[in-house]
Amino acid sequence: MSTHPLWKYLRPNALPHFFCPGCGAAQVLNFFLRAADEVQLDLDKLVGIGGVGCAARIPVYLHAECLHGVHGRTIPWATGIKLHNPELNVVIFAGDGDASAIGGGHLIHACRRNLDVVMVVVNNLTFGMTGGQMAPTTPRNVKSATTPYGNVEDPFDICKLAETAGATYVARWTTAKPKNAKNAIKEALDHKGFALVEILTQCPTNFGRRALSSGRAIDSLQWLKDHSVSQKKATGMRPEDLESKFVLGTFVKKTRPLFMGSSVYPKVP
């Protein structure tokens, strides 16, 4: 019996995965495996990092070294690993909570330092695992478990945040754009420096039901499509029309010196 060509990248005995039916996080795992296969990533030299939450489970299924289980501290782990052994490839899978709420303080500093890691931000616009509470990414006015009358806060644009803080590769796609999402992860894996790929994902269980009044994954995906515009289209749009839209594309692709810690001065007399 033949096995799936990507099967070898999955941790033995780790499946079935724990994602809800229709969840976008499993698609992101799929995108990553395809990207890793295309760049022939050496999994012996890969450290996958997840914090806490649904997206944090993605690296648990990879047959690689893995750190998992503390909310928001993905970047500090990555920093320690890369400073001690820059030869290792580190890929972080962070939910929007890990990346922009509890771990937001670390994100801006990793961007500023240009730490040489890939951060895939799986943005489902809510705290999915804990039951659909408001996140820093939840759109204004929508309902969540903790905003039953509508969200009164403005959401973060994680890509703009990363760009402003100094990230050297920044891109955003959705699970409705699987090839683009996979290619962005591939570019990020090939990039030297802090690479952030935000992938907007459907969470039918907790964002769909609460914010969109539908638990069907297809409805959440359609909503993501309806609220996404390409960079090209966005340039011709009025700011007020762009407010409720997610702009998709590659926003930053440049090089800067990598952060190596004090180890760049090994020969101090």
């Binding site: 941790r11 005995n13 780790a14 999994l43 012996d44 030299k45 450290v47 648990v60 047959h63 690689a64 070294e65 893995c66 750190l67 998992h68 289980g69 503390v70 928001g72 501290r73 970047i75 500090p76 782990w77 990555a78 920093t79 320690g80 690993i81 890369k82 400073l83 001690h84 052994n85 030869e87 290792l88 303080g105 670390h106 500093h109 810690g261 004090s262 180890s263 001065y265 090994p266 101090v268």
Partner: protein
């Protein structure tokens, strides 16, 4: 003066915080991460000068959380990692300490205790050292009382961390951290350095969290090909996340038992004039200094007093304490806080002798005359 970048063999007149750095480098520390906080700053500042000369990494995190988790990452990548902080900063690190316990990651944490918001003398964190992290754990905490002991115990902290795959803490104090004293650093070959065991079997045969119930399993480096999952969630011997209550119970039994069952290896105490003592002062850290002086004075007056100095404060040296309690009339627990460790001593000793707490909680260490007065009062 030694030309060895790691081990500055010789006799020094050194600041306590600097002695910590020398101890760490002598033990093979090659990764330091920390966030500025007084009165621990001389550790990171001196480390930022010394570490690059050895080829190791000095990293200043954006906060304590970044620093403590960077230690986890670096340690799993193969580093011998340390941080230093002070009371208020130590609070933030509890999250990372709890993770390091659960995933069995060696590291050393130095906490220079300070009174709330200021650099006054205190031993207020003695319970936080032990109980600060969430989840079940046993901790190893060493309590130095001098600049020499700051060096010696930092070396020992690394050795214990590597052996038991657990965070080990050095409980420093403002009193000794900011004091200059004589420090003798031995020859490199005279310093015992323990390094973690690595697996001697190939990845496909290695079971990452399997070990006898009183030991830690070998720990490979990231990149060695072992592809281990290190999760805070309950994990089985293979590292897989498992919610079976039996798995949870076995895991937490082993990671606590590996410390509990190695009492003789971990616990160290020192006796001072205890052979014929009727009154025993029980001390840890810098409070042992006025205690010893007071005992010298008491002996001049014919009072049979002595000191038990707890060099390992966690786990509690309960066997030593109980033996002592059986042969003295009275025990006095000396502390610079509201009287915290006294409860541990009472738990172990109160059934054998009278146990009193002698506290001073005003940002100052006890004077020898104050301790002598307490001894005399206890004998009335």
């Amino acid at each position: 003066m030694s030309t060895d970048a790691y081990v500055k063999t010789g006799t020094h007149f050194m600041l306590g915080n600097h002695a910590v750095v020398e101890g760490a480098l002598a033990a093979g520390c090659n990764f330091f991460a920390g966030y500025p906080i007084t009165p621990a700053n001389e550790i990171s500042q001196y480390m930022s000068q010394r570490m690059p000369k050895t080829g190791g990494v000095f990293f200043q995190g954006e906060d304590e959380l970044c620093s403590i988790f960077a230690l986890s990452g670096a340690s799993l990548a193969g580093a011998k990692a340390m941080t230093a902080t002070a009371s208020a900063g130590f609070n933030y690190m509890q999250e990372g300490i709890g993770y390091a316990v659960a995933s069995e990651i060696p590291m050393v944490i130095v906490n220079v205790m300070r009174c709330r918001g200021e650099n006054f003398a205190t031993q207020a964190d003695v319970m936080q050292m032990r109980w600060g992290a969430s989840g079940d754990h046993e901790h190893i905490v060493l309590a130095p009382a001098s600049v020499q002991e700051l060096f010696d115990y930092t070396v020992r902290a690394f050795n214990l961390a590597e052996k038991y795959r657990t965070p080990v803490m050095v409980m420093s104090e403002t009193t000794i951290a900011l004091m200059r004293e004589k420090l003798v650093i031995p020859e490199r070959k005279a310093i015992t350095v323990v390094n973690r065991k690595r697996p001697d079997i190939p990845p496909e045969k290695f079971i990452p969290f399997r070990a006898p119930e009183d030991q830690a399993p070998p720990l490979p480096r990231f990149g060695d090909g072992y592809r281990i999952l290190h999760s805070l969630n309950p994990h089985d011997e293979h590292g897989g996340i498992a919610w079976d209550p039996d798995v949870f119970e076995r895991l937490y039994h082993r990671i606590t038992n590996k410390i509990r069952s190695n009492y003789d290896d971990i616990v160290r105490v020192e006796d001072f004039y205890l052979d014929d003592a009727k009154v025993a002062l029980v001390t840890y850290g810098s409070e042992s200094r006025p205690a010893r002086q007071a005992v010298r004075l008491a002996r001049q007056d014919g009072i049979k007093a002595g000191v038990l100095k707890l060099n390992t404060i966690w786990p509690v040296p309960d066997r030593h304490l109980e033996q002592l309690a059986k042969r003295v009339d009275k025990m006095l627990i000396l502390e610079m806080n509201i009287g915290k460790y006294a409860h541990e001593v009472e738990r172990v000793c109160a059934k054998h002798c009278q146990v009193d707490s002698v506290i001073k909680n005003r940002g100052e260490i006890h004077s020898a005359t104050e301790v002598l007065a307490a001894i005399e009062e206890a004998l009335k």
